[in-house]
């Protein structure tokens, strides 16, 4: 038997997480599973007792949490950064604290379809978010704090909420401006450094939901038990932002948002340009899920893939100045030396190359495969690995109809 908030898994390396039970219940199975992204990861199956009894550690005592405990609390909360390349907050803060020049960037750009986004939780829970920001500032002592906001009225509203001693930077919200690597380049002037860039925390880019979870941990001792998920898309009856416990099946989120409408083509986890399409609606909410998008068939019907015509659109479009056309050719030949020379590791996983290709080639997929091949090749020569996030699946086994 476990209680809500009880720690049920320990990190095994510098890049892995603490995991806490999202609700009270009985652990019925531990093992491994395949994520929708096709990678194997540890899995715990929890059967809830529907009483949601909290663990004594996370009961709100009404008193302030002393500052000495903040670092320990934050780094053991199990919080992940959001985006196509999620890293654990603990690892990133550790590296940030050790930097000489520390710049903190809060990313408040609107990421959602229909104008709804997780940044709306800034208006729902402003004190929690401010506490989280305060805690990180006190613990890490950044010399400069910036906030990226939309250059619109919506953005100006946010500036009223976060505080006065922050420098606000209005950005015209064009994808991929909100991706951490692009943000880093805007602020620091360094060239884009690919998926590892955010781990190096130069500058540290955090978004609103991360501050929210940090604030919950500091004020209420509450570890990561739920995720703020934007459930949207034209195939849903009532798109909205939901706060769902880890392990909730995606099916329940869709039902909460009014269910499916019309002829549905794809159900996508996270981003429309980089996310994964799923067929199993039992896929659970995880610490890295921030969006579920349902697209009608008309928008996402499969299109014929034809040979590359070397038009150069992918080269012009890539924010990291890579050449996806050559990366694809080198991958066909399995030419790893050329892939290294083409700086595949600088890819920030934005997906624009595939979006723009007139021949409908799945360029983003190829670049991802190229990165994996290079990583595997390196792992063969330098042992060491990155741990994956644990997935907790709650509910009665197999059957989710209520």
């Amino acid at each position: 038997m476990v209680l809500a908030g009880q720690q049920i898994a320990e990190p095994t390396g510098s890049l892995s997480l603490h995991v806490h039970a999202p609700t009270s219940g009985k652990i019925v199975e531990t093992g491994r599973a395949l994520t929708p992204w096709g990678r194997s990861c540890p899995r715990v199956i929890l059967e809830p007792d529907l009483a949601d009894r909290p663990h004594p550690d996370i009961v709100d005592m009404g008193s302030e949490v002393p500052e000495e405990q903040w670092w320990e609390l934050l780094t053991s909360a199990g919080i992940m950064l959001q985006g196509p390349t999620p890293w654990p907050l603990s690892a990133v803060l550790e590296r940030f604290r050790q930097r000489e020049k520390r710049v903190l960037v809060i990313q408040c750009l609107d990421q959602g379809i229909h104008g709804i986004s997780a940044a709306s939780c800034l208006t729902t829970w402003p004190e929690v978010i401010r506490s989280g920001l305060e805690a990180i500032r006190i613990l890490c002592q950044p010399q400069q704090v910036l906030a990226l906001v939309d250059a619109t009225r919506h953005g100006r509203n946010i500036t009223n909420q976060l505080g006065n001693d922050i420098e606000y930077l209005p950005i015209t919200d064009a994808y991929p401006a909100m991706l951490p690597s692009v943000t880093s380049r805007l602020v620091s002037g360094h060239p884009i450094r690919g998926d590892q860039g955010q781990l190096e925390a130069d500058p540290l880019v955090l978004d609103i939901t991360t501050l929210f979870h940090a604030g919950q941990r500091i004020r209420l001792r509450r570890p990561l038990l739920d995720s703020i998920v934007t459930v949207g898309g034209y195939g849903l009856a009532r798109p909205q932002v939901l706060r769902a416990r880890i392990g909730t099946p995606v099916r329940d989120l869709i039902d909460q948002a009014g269910g499916l409408v019309g002829i549905v083509g794809k159900i996508i986890l996270n981003d429309v340009l980089t996310g994964v399409a799923i067929v199993d609606l039992n896929a659970p909410v995880t610490a890295t899920l921030f969006s579920v998008i349902v697209l009608p068939r008309k928008i996402c019907r499969p299109r014929e893939i034809v040979p590359c015509i070397a038009c150069g659109e992918c080269v012009e479009a890539c924010p990291a100045h890579l050449e996806p056309v050559f990366i694809e050719q080198a991958l066909e030949r399995l030419d790893l030396a050329t892939l290294n020379r083409l700086r595949v590791k600088h890819c920030i996983s934005c997906g624009i190359c595939g979006w723009v290709c007139p021949s409908m080639r799945p360029l983003f997929e190829k670049v991802v495969v190229a990165k994996h091949r290079l990583q595997r090749d390196e792992a063969l020569h330098n042992p060491g690995h990155v741990d994956s996030t644990a997935i907790i699946q709650s509910g009665r086994e197999g059957d989710h109809h209520e």
């Binding site: 009856a237 099916r251 869709i254 039902d255 009014g258 269910g259 499916l260 549905v264 083509g265 794809k266 159900i267 996508i268 981003d271 429309v272 340009l273 980089t274 996310g275 994964v276 399409a277 799923i278 067929v279 998008i293 697209l295 068939r297 928008i299 996402c300 019907r301 499969p302 299109r303 034809v306 040979p307 590359c308 015509i309 070397a310 038009c311 150069g312 659109e313 080269v315 012009e316 050449e323 056309v325 050559f326 030419d335 030396a337 050329t338 997906g351 595939g354 979006w355 723009v356 007139p358 021949s359 409908m360 799945p362 983003f364 997929e365 109809h401």
Partner: protein
């Protein structure tokens, strides 16, 4: 709300899950659209003569496509937009009194050997239309000089009659003559007929983003450079400009050199490619007896494309 009894058919494919409106067919349709002013003026000026050549070229292309289907086992779609563009460009590059049977041969060679033998669309090294032109230039020397005069409604007041490379036409004397230069109709192949139509079409392609500025800019710059070096501008100062808007160069700059498959991918490489075409055109116009240097200039630059894309072909160091 989701009915447990109904079946949900979901698509499982890799990202991106939405796509930009640009697709390959649309790109080539835009090129055909940009060719419309030229096609209209050409049909008006050359009339039935040109239409016969167009039909002859189409027949050749269809023949090549059919043969590719049988021998090379390539799928053959007669209405493939890239094919339509090649056919149109080739027919605009051949003189109006060119024998139809040779036009058919040119088209057949262009499509079969210029494109399909390499693997079809997206895999050719050479520009197919220019390959066809060059093939007939070599096989039937002198035939391409035939027939410069348009014969219908526009009347002979509008005709310059000269073959472009012999007349060192000043670029601008005054505003009036610039207007005259742009709107007059030149003799030669249909591609050379109306500078205005070509500029309108080229402007449309630039505006739509189908063609980026690098190649047309570099071609004109290369021609200017070639003119400065090769045409003795100390003696006749405006000679340097004489190649810029003469002959098929403007047409080639916007429609032929910009063929995506045979031109390099990187913007910087494209600048070098365009410069090469411009300079080589001037060189070939001056020092060979070819009626127009552009075709071989483009083909030579096509030979440079793999190197411009990958300066380290062996990949060892």
């Amino acid at each position: 709300m989701s009915d447990p009894g109904s079946r949900l058919e979901l698509i499982l494919s890799p990202p991106p899950h939405i796509h930009s409106p640009l697709n390959r067919d649309r790109m080539f349709h835009e090129v055909l659209l940009a060719l419309t002013p030229t096609l209209l003026i050409v049909t008006g000026a050359f009339g039935i003569g040109w239409l016969i050549r167009l039909v002859a070229v189409t027949v050749g292309a269809l023949l090549a496509g059919w043969l590719s289907d049988r021998i090379l086992r390539q799928d053959f779609n007669p209405l493939e937009p890239a094919q339509l563009v090649t056919v149109t460009l080739l027919s605009l590059s051949l003189p109006p009194l060119f024998p139809p049977i040779m036009a058919t041969l040119a088209a057949f060679l262009a499509v079969f050997f210029g494109r399909n033998v390499f693997g079809g669309i997206g895999r050719n090294t050479f520009n197919p239309a220019m390959f066809g032109w060059a093939a007939v230039a070599l096989l039937f020397p002198g035939m391409l000089n035939r027939g410069s005069l348009p014969v219908t409604p526009f009347g002979s007041d509008w005709l310059s009659g000269d073959l472009p490379m012999t007349a060192a036409t000043p670029l601008v004397h005054s505003a009036t003559s610039l207007l005259t230069r742009v709107t007059r109709l030149d003799g030669g192949t249909p591609a050379e007929l109306s500078l205005l139509a070509v500029l309108l079409g080229g402007g449309w392609l630039l505006y739509r983003g189908i063609v980026r500025w690098q190649i047309p800019f570099a071609v004109f710059t290369g021609a200017l450079l070639g003119g400065l070096v090769l045409r003795l501008p100390l003696i006749n100062p405006t000679a340097a400009f004489s190649d810029l808007f003469c002959g098929a160069l403007p047409f080639a700059a916007f429609f032929i050199a910009t063929d995506p498959v045979s031109s390099p991918v990187r913007p910087s490489a494209r600048l070098v490619y365009g410069l090469a075409i411009g300079v080589l055109t001037v060189l070939l116009r001056l020092h060979t007896s070819l009626p127009e240097g552009v075709a071989f200039a483009v083909l030579t630059a096509n030979l440079l494309t793999p190197l411009l894309d990958n300066p380290n072909p062996g990949g060892h160091r």
